[in-house]
Symmetry: C2
Subunit: 324 residues, 2 copies
Amino acid sequence: MMDEFALIEKFFARRAGARDDVRLGIGDDAAVTRVEPGFDLVIATDTINEGTHFPPGTSAHALGHRCLAVNLSDLAAMGAEPLWCTLALSIPSGSADWVDAFASGFMALADAHEIALVGGDTVRGPTSINVTVHGRVPADTAIRRDGVRAGDGIYVTGRFGCAAAGLAMLSGAATAAEQERSELVNRFLYPAPRVREGRALVGIASAMIDVSDGLHVDLSRMLHASGVGAMLDVEALQLPVESVDRFGRARALGFALTGGDDYELCFAVPPDREPELDRVTSGWECGVARIGRAGRDREVRWLDHGRVRSIDEPGFRHFVTADL
Amino acid sequence: MMDEFALIEKFFARRAGARDDVRLGIGDDAAVTRVEPGFDLVIATDTINEGTHFPPGTSAHALGHRCLAVNLSDLAAMGAEPLWCTLALSIPSGSADWVDAFASGFMALADAHEIALVGGDTVRGPTSINVTVHGRVPADTAIRRDGVRAGDGIYVTGRFGCAAAGLAMLSGAATAAEQERSELVNRFLYPAPRVREGRALVGIASAMIDVSDGLHVDLSRMLHASGVGAMLDVEALQLPVESVDRFGRARALGFALTGGDDYELCFAVPPDREPELDRVTSGWECGVARIGRAGRDREVRWLDHGRVRSIDEPGFRHFVTADL
C-alpha cells in the first residue's frame, strides 16, 4: 500500500498540464502560467484548521471539497473565473486513507470548476489546509465590496442559516442517522461556491461580498466599506424548511442572520441595472432575492413584520481567527 | 497595547497599493493584480513549520525573513522577478511581540525585493507559516530544471554548507556567544535568495534549481529531470572558512554536499554561452564557480583530489515533509 506522501505526490502530479494557460505545472521550483491580455488576475488565500473551522473528525472528503470551496467563494465574490490554485497541507502521520478521500473531494470540485492545481507543499503536523486561488476578470471589472450607492437594491443568492443549523446538528443536536440524511449538514460539509452566479454579475452588481462569517456581519462590511447603510427585511430571506421545522423560526432566523459558513453571495445592484439582473438570474437554481435597499443613513436595520429587529450577536467569528 | 491580531491587521494593511500592478490590495475578498502582456506568471508556495524547518525558539525576526526568503529562492531558480505574495500564518496565543518582530523581518526582505503582500490569513495554532509568491519572466523564458544537455557546464553561486554548519552550532555545538557572532548561524537564520543572480541568468542558463535540500540531492534532481549525469569536483566548491576551522574539512564538505538550507543556485550553461556568463557574473558579490560538466552517462559523480567520492547520505530531507 502507498503511504500518504506517495499518495500526495500522485494527487499533486495528476493535474499538471490540465489547462492551456499552465505552461509548466507541478514538479519544478515553481509553476509557470499565462494571463491573457485584457484580463486582471484575482488572488485569494484562505486556511481551514481542525478545531477552528471544522470539528475534529470531519470527513476528509468534505474537507477536500471545503478548503477549495471557501477560496472559490472569494473568487465568486469578485466576479472572477477560476484558473489555478496551490495547496499547502499539514497532516498527521498515518493518514493514507485520509489523503485518498481528501484528494477525491478536492479534485471533484476542482474539475467541476476547471481550476488547475499548480503548486503544492506538504508537511506533517496538526490538520491545517491552506489554499491560494487565482482567477481572472476582464480588466477593471472586478466587483469590489466598496461600490454600493444609496438607492441600490441589496440582493442575496440562495438560503441562509443552513450551515449553522447543520453545524448545530453535528455538534450534538441530532442522531447520526438524522445527520446522515440532513440537507443542512450536507450544506455545512459541502458549501457550494456561487462561481457562475458571481461571474454573471460582472457589469451588473455595484458591489459584492461572499457570506462566510454571517449575513449581518458580512453585509455590514460591504455597506460600511461603501459608506452607506441599508433597510432590510428578514421576511425576504428564504429560510430552510428543515431548519425552521427542527429549531423553530426564531432560531432558524438567528442562524440565517448571524450563523456563518453559508458561502452565498450578497451584492448590490443600481436601480437601472435591475431589469438586466432579472433577465440574468431567471434561470438560477439557487434562487436570488432582494432583501432591501441601501440608504445614505449609515445604519444597517433589519425589519421583521415591519418592526426593527435588533441583531444581538456580533455575527459569527471563527473563535480564534482573524480573516483579513 | 495592541494584541497580536490588531498588529497583524496593521502589518497586512501596510502594503496595499505598494505597486502599480496591484489594482486592489488587502481588504476585499481577493486582491486584483495585472500581469503586463509579454510576460509569464511564475507561482511557488512553501511552508515552514516549527520543529520541522526551524528549531523551536528561533527568532521571529529571522522567521519573517526566512518564510519569504525560501519562496523568493524558488522564483530566483526560475529566473523570475518578484511581484506579489500572500501569507497564511498560524501562531499561538499571546504572541504580540512575536508578530511585531516577524512583521519587521518579513517586510525588510519584501521591501528589498519590491514584492507586495496582497493577501493574508491568520489563525491560532502551532507556529506554521505558508507563503505563496508570484513573479514574472518574459514569455517562454522561465528557466526549468530539465534543460541540461551533455557538455553543459554545471555552476553554483556562493558557498555551501554554511546553513547546515550554522544549524549544528545552534543545536548545541556552540555557546550562545559563539552563535551570536557566527556567520554560519547568520546564514542559517537569514538565507539570501539569489533573485538578482537568477534573473541575470535568463537566456544564459539551460536549467536551474535552488539548493534547499542539499547540493548533491538538488543537483541530482536537475540532472535526472534532464536525463543526463555529471562529473563534478568538490575542490571547485567554496567551503566556508569558519566551518572548516570549527568542524574540519571532511565535515565541512559533508555539510556542503548534503546539508540543506543554503538557498544558493545550481545551474547549467551551454559551452557557447559561457563567455556571456563570465561577463554577467563578473560583479557578483556571492561568487560563482563551475563545479563540473554534464555528460550522457546518467551517473552523478563527485571527484575529490581526482578520486571518486561516494555520497553516503541521502541528502538532507526535512524529516517529516514532502516538498513537491
